[in-house]
């Protein structure tokens, strides 16, 4: 196996510094939202799907994870909220530092972690309930609403944050399954935002959507990041990464090959695999 480690020259701090530059350039917080350290994933004890990924993500930035199918970018994303633990015989190695806690190795409350690290999936998957209940369900289950008026307010706030309120405010009692694909995806974003996460993971959120709906999701992702949330978006679409993200990390064959400010990644890629990927030689 090829052992080029492009992000290694000035060792572990390399990804950190590149992200930090961008964060500084956009004059947003330099506060680290979540940091992975040598994170890897094993299936069935011997199949390693992900090798040694060390990345740092900051609040208020949009970070894109790109790479061809099966490169491990979604697997990595699913480590960050420990959704991989739901897969039988799946094991996460290394560490993930979140608010000073190693969520991989320390005994943590899985449900609290997932409340503050939200996730949006590839296929829009609203619950088979009304639009209102889609947002209200988790709020109620986590006891986050003091009373019904407060719940109404929080639902409205979440739908506004996902830029969906104006389209659905008169139909809150209607089934979420009757919405269009793009609206459904924004509803899924809204129900996640309702829990006030500080990290939002998006797993190819636009791959089932048309270009206009895609644009709406991208704008929403940008707005969400501007409110100080760290948005991590997996995409196989390089144009999308270039449009929305501040930093980009390229994954290939289960490894994180190169990471840096998005502009640099696309204009001056260092690793030849990334160069080949960007120039469309494989995908």
């Amino acid at each position: 196996m090829e052992q080029t480690k492009v992000n290694a020259p000035d060792a572990p701090s390399a990804p950190v510094s590149s992200h930090t530059q961008v964060a500084a350039a956009r004059a947003v917080s330099k506060e680290v939202a979540i940091r992975s350290n040598g994170t890897g994933v094993f299936y069935n004890t011997d199949q390693q799907a992900l090798h040694d990924v060390s990345l740092t993500f900051h609040k208020g930035e949009v970070a894109a994870l790109i790479g061809p199918s099966g490169c491990g970018k979604s697997t990595f994303l699913r480590c960050l909220n420990l959704m991989n633990l739901e897969i039988p015989h799946c094991r996460i190695v290394g560490s993930i530092d979140y608010h000073g806690v190693d969520i991989v190795n320390e005994k943590i409350n899985l449900f609290d972690v997932r409340t503050s690290i939200g996730m949006v999936f590839q296929q829009p998957n609203p619950f088979r309930k009304s639009i209102y209940d889609n947002v209200a369900l988790a709020l109620t289950r986590h006891g986050m609403a003091a009373n019904s008026t407060n719940l109404d307010d929080q639902v409205e706030e979440a739908l506004r944050a996902a830029v969906l309120w104006d389209e659905v405010k008169d139909d809150l009692k209607k089934s979420a399954w009757a919405l269009s694909g793009g609206q459904q995806q924004r509803l899924c974003i809204a129900r996640t935002l309702a829990l006030h996460p500080d990290v939002l993971l998006m797993d190819e959120p636009c791959s089932a959507l048309d270009p206009i709906a895609t644009r709406a999701i991208e704008d929403t992702a940008r707005r969400i990041a501007d409110t100080g949330i760290c948005v991590i978006i997996v995409t196989h679409n390089m144009q999308q990464a270039a449009r929305v993200s501040d930093t980009t990390s390229f994954f290939y064959l289960g490894e994180m090959v190169e990471t840096g400010p998005t502009e640099r990644i696309f204009t001056a890629p260092e690793d030849e695999r990334l160069q080949a990927y960007i120039s469309g030689q494989f995908g």
Binding site: S130, D133, A138, R141, A176
Partner: protein, 318 residues
């Protein structure tokens, strides 16, 4: 290259006539299949409708007679009714469902959501499939040995209800299991990713999604339970003590709610009067009982379906 004088005709890769012939053939086949399938479906509908109309019209004179529906059966004279049998059928059905729905719901949730995928789980699933095709007379004889003799409960409603539960659980379990498995995985993921526990996800997301299918399954199994005779002949017995609806003494055999009394149901009554009945009007009584049985199942289906639709509408906002 450039000096080719005679333009060559384009090679005919596709023969237009063959394409037309092929399309026409496909259309003919499709049309023929439609006709045959419609005919088969129509024949089945006509057959079922004919059976229904025959049963109901044969028993109509009795089935809509309030005296027949309320009075107790006669041993030797004509003019007996099916009052206790009618009540017993519903009572047994309700008891059976009260016992079997929670058990099979819990077991199905465990098997689908919690059980690890190993040989124990697979063995249990296979066992359920085998049990769901167990002949009901076997269930009845097993109930006779265990509940009637071993537990010394005698021919009683409780013996009958437990035998019916054994007969009903595998069917219900499979239906609920399939309904839960049919809920897309992404609904589960969505619940878990919002920080909800597996139990919250199951109760608040998966069950509402699966509810229409579960209700349909419950209705179908209830219909089978309601019309079951073989499993009851040896467990709930073939005698129907006259019921006194003013009695709430649970030890009194005339008390309708007493679960220790023998209880003949409609289906068992049909079997009994046809095999050993000596009343002069046994054909009329038998036809009337059959009509009442069919009408009850029909009504039960319609009501349950209506209620199911209302419930599912409320749960899913559709």
């Amino acid at each position: 290259m450039a000096n080719t004088a005679t333009p060559q005709p384009a090679p005919r890769l596709i023969d237009p006539d063959a394409v037309v012939a092929h399309v026409e053939k496909a259309r003919r086949q499709s049309k023929a299949a439609t006709v045959i399938l419609t005919a088969i479906a129509g024949a089945i509908c006509v057959l079922l409708a004919a059976i229904l109309v025959y049963i109901i019209s044969a028993g109509a004179s009795k089935a809509f007679d309030p005296a027949f529906l309320t009075s107790p059966p006669q041993q030797f004279k004509e003019g007996g009714g099916i009052g206790p049998e009618l009540f017993n059928s519903f009572y047994l059905l309700v008891l059976t469902l009260v016992i079997s729905i929670p058990l099979s719901l819990g077991a199905a949730i465990f098997l689908v959501e919690y059980a690890p995928d190993n040989w124990v789980t697979r063995a249990v699933k296979t066992a359920i499939e085998v049990l769901s095709s167990l002949p009901s007379i076997v269930v009845g004889l097993f109930g006779f040995l265990l509940f009637v003799l071993q537990m010394s409960w005698g021919f009683s409603i409780i013996s009958g209800a437990l035998a019916l539960t054994m007969f009903n659980i595998p069917i219900l379990l499979r239906v609920i299991q399939q309904a839960l498995e049919a809920v897309p995985t992404d609904q589960r993921d969505a619940g878990l990713a919002l920080g909800m526990t597996r139990w919250e996800t199951t109760v608040h997301i998966l069950l509402p999604c699966a509810m229409p299918a579960i209700i349909t399954g419950v209705i179908l199994s209830a219909g089978r339970v309601f019309g079951e005779a073989a499993a009851l002949i040896y467990t709930a017995g073939q005698s129907a003590p006259a019921l006194d609806f003013t009695s709430f003494d649970l030890t009194n055999p005339a008390c309708p709610w007493n679960i220790w009394r023998p209880a003949e149901t409609l289906a068992v009554h049909i079997w009994k009067i046809n095999s050993e009945g000596v009343v002069p009007d046994l054909t009329a009584v038998s036809d009337g009982t059959a009509a009442v049985l069919v009408i009850c199942i029909l009504a039960f289906n319609l009501i349950a379906r209506f209620a199911g639709r209302r419930l599912s509408k409320k749960l899913t906002a559709e």
